[in-house]
């Protein structure tokens, strides 16, 4: 039986995350050649969101897409998300200008659970490719709570390193890896994580986001150390609130949009993690595990 998940405010009700709050884009920033950050003021979301949660972003007349929250600020009710230009909807998003209107619903899903105590050791964040946004947000919160944060950041090449400066400003250590060796060590974010794990194995916990192949390899690696690992998964989502079942990953009916997108690695046993995903029709397809590890 599925365990009932509750938010801090009680059971998830229909009112939660099902109505769009429409407002103008206050600012658009280019982060890398492929990614832009969009800033809106939505105090209700800014006040309740936590790192790892996501938004359904409505581009009126085009589509609605899930986007990880990359930052919030209580003053001004600021909410930010960061989108790579990868398809029709994100291309329309990238073409938008400051002042154009977007609809946001959320915060949705369950994010990272940071350790209560700051004395159990530093936290290891592993960000591959476009996996930086929730971890940059998590870094802000963790550092504010007094955690020491170490980051393993990987990308295909130096210009693609997303939120490098944000990580370097807040985290105590940042190890860079690029596929082409244009910055840091030549390799993936998992190689950068290995480097950190081998010099300091007393991490309290590890948090990761990136291509699933990369997450899968990290999960295999982390067994050696062993450190609790939480990963943020990406799946095709149609409703974002656990109704349609498009993002279910196991026989217990765990939904990436509701029970996830962040999962403890143990809860992913006997799931699709690292093996299968669904396309827009719901077709179950093998996940190419070589994809993530070779590029990030």
């Amino acid at each position: 039986m599925i365990q009932e998940r509750k938010t801090k405010k009680g059971p998830i009700s229909l009112k939660h995350g099902l109505r769009h709050i429409v407002g103008p884009i206050l600012q658009i920033r280019e982060e890398t050649p492929r990614t832009k950050t969009f800033t809106l003021s939505v105090p209700d979301i800014a006040r309740t969101a936590s790192p790892g949660q996501f938004l359904m972003v409505w581009i009126p007349g085009i589509d609605e897409i899930p986007m990880s929250i990359s930052a919030t600020k209580n003053s001004g009710g600021i909410v930010e998300f960061t989108a790579a230009n990868v398809g029709e909807a994100t291309s329309a998003l990238h073409a938008m200008k400051e002042g154009d209107q977007l609809g946001l619903r959320g915060p949705l899903g369950h994010g990272f659970t940071l350790p209560r105590s700051v004395d159990k050791g530093p936290l290891l964040f592993v960000a591959g490719g476009c996996g930086s946004p929730p971890l940059a947000y998590a870094t802000d919160i963790a550092v504010r709570k007094g955690h020491e944060v170490h980051v393993a950041l990987g990308a295909s090449s130096r210009p693609e390193l997303l939120f490098r400066h944000r990580f370097e400003e807040k985290a105590q250590k940042v190890i860079i890896a690029t596929d082409d060796g244009s910055d840091g060590i030549q390799g993936t974010s998992v190689d950068a994580a290995t480097f950190l794990l081998d010099i300091d194995t007393k991490y309290a916990a590890c948090f990761a986001c990136g291509p699933e192949g990369m997450l899968f390899h990290l999960a295999e690696l982390i067994v050696k150390y062993p450190i609790p690992l939480q990963v943020s998964l990406e799946r095709y989502m149609k409703c974002g609130v656990g109704l349609c079942g498009h993002c279910i990953i196991n026989d217990q009916g765990a939904r990436v949009c509701l029970e996830g997108p962040v999962f403890n690695i143990e809860s992913l046993k006997d799931s699709d993690f690292g093996r299968l995903k669904r396309d827009s029709t719901g077709k179950h397809l093998p996940l190419d595990t070589t994809d993530g590890s070779s590029t990030r």
Binding site: M1, I2, L14, H20, W58, D63, L243, G253
Partner: protein, 320 residues
């Protein structure tokens, strides 16, 4: 009837929909959780008497662009998924995985022609489903909605399907509508053509507009209304169908959140019910919750068996 190790059987709750025996009268409605076998399995483990698959057609469908779901005031919901499905060939493994675990699965079929309905239904039957529910009523796929409101077209589809499904019960899901006389005509035509049960109703055709952007809230432009707002409409439909003297069972659907809601549908004339939007409002443990509430009702009213309630609404007449 398959036993579910996670649920203690309560004989008072068992119902029969024609030849289909269910452990209790609640069924997971089509389009909810059913894309993946895991969704079907988990709903059954929570205590659903049966589960209906995602509606599946012959060819893959991507469905409508987003937003595909939007919440309204008063816990009601609109959706326009657009029946995304990978096509029957790719979907069969999901059904088989659930059937293998003993889940009582009802297949939901879609077709662009009567022949296509029959082809999909026959493939569903071969995958081990207990019954096939024909979706002739999606309110945001125009051709289907129009089909479901036309008695002759429905009879045509049913005749072709019944000829290809080897005696496996065929159910038909009626369109969401307040045109009760028409719904009765469609149900009667379907009954004559050989369906084993009537499912009433699908979501109601509806529209919601965002006033800030002056744009329809759903990507499809229109959608289907579900949840508590439509319950009185669907209960009325069930009652009208029951009073029309159908000889086949009626399965009520629309806005069921509690065991008491199930009882209400039964009193109106239903034999069983389907639950969809309730999965969102009361979470996916809604089946175990309604199950307990139904059992409590039977105890409180000293009723031996839940099927005794079907059609037992006290007739107070209708004032002109």
């Amino acid at each position: 009837m398959t036993s579910n190790s996670e649920v203690e059987t309560d004989p008072r709750l068992q119902v029969k929909i024609g030849s289909v025996e269910l452990e209790n009268p609640t069924i997971l409605a089509s389009g909810v959780l059913g894309v993946a076998s895991g969704g079907l399995i988990s709903a059954w483990k929570d205590g659903a008497g049966a589960v209906v698959t995602k509606t599946v057609g012959l060819k893959p469908r991507v469905g409508h662009p987003g937003p595909r779901i939007v919440g309204l005031h008063g816990d009601s919901l609109m959706n326009a998924m657009g029946i995304p499905n990978p096509g029957i060939g790719e979907y069969l493994p999901e059904i088989k995985a659930a059937v293998k675990q003993g889940v009582p699965v009802i297949g939901s079929a879609l077709g662009s022609t009567p022949k296509e309905f029959a082809t999909v239904a026959s493939k569903l039957v071969r995958s081990g489903v207990l019954a096939v529910e024909l979706n002739v009523s999606c309110p945001h796929v125009d051709s289907l909605y129009l089909l479901g409101m036309d008695p002759d077209s429905v009879a045509d589809v049913v005749t072709q399907v019944v000829g290809k499904t080897k005696g496996v019960p065929i159910w038909i899901k009626l369109p969401g509508s307040t045109d009760y006389p028409r719904l009765v005509q469609v149900a009667q035509a379907a009954e004559s053509a050989g369906v084993a049960a009537i499912v009433a109703l699908n979501t109601l055709p509806a529209l919601a507009i965002d006033t800030e952007t002056q744009t329809p809230l759903l990507g499809a432009g229109i959608g289907g209304l579900s949840g508590p707002a439509i319950k009185p409409i669907a209960v009325r439909a069930v009652s009208e169908l029951y009073k029309a003297g159908l000889k086949i069972p009626i399965i009520g659907v629309g806005g069921i959140l509690t065991g008491d809601d199930v009882i209400e549908y039964l009193l109106a004339g239903a034999t069983a019910v389907e639950i969809g939007t309730g999965v969102l409002i009361r979470e996916s443990t809604i089946f175990s919750k309604t199950r307990k509430e139904m059992a409590d009702y039977l105890t409180r009213h000293e009723i031996q068996h839940i099927s005794e309630l079907t059609g037992c609404m006290k007739d107070v007449g209708v004032n002109p």
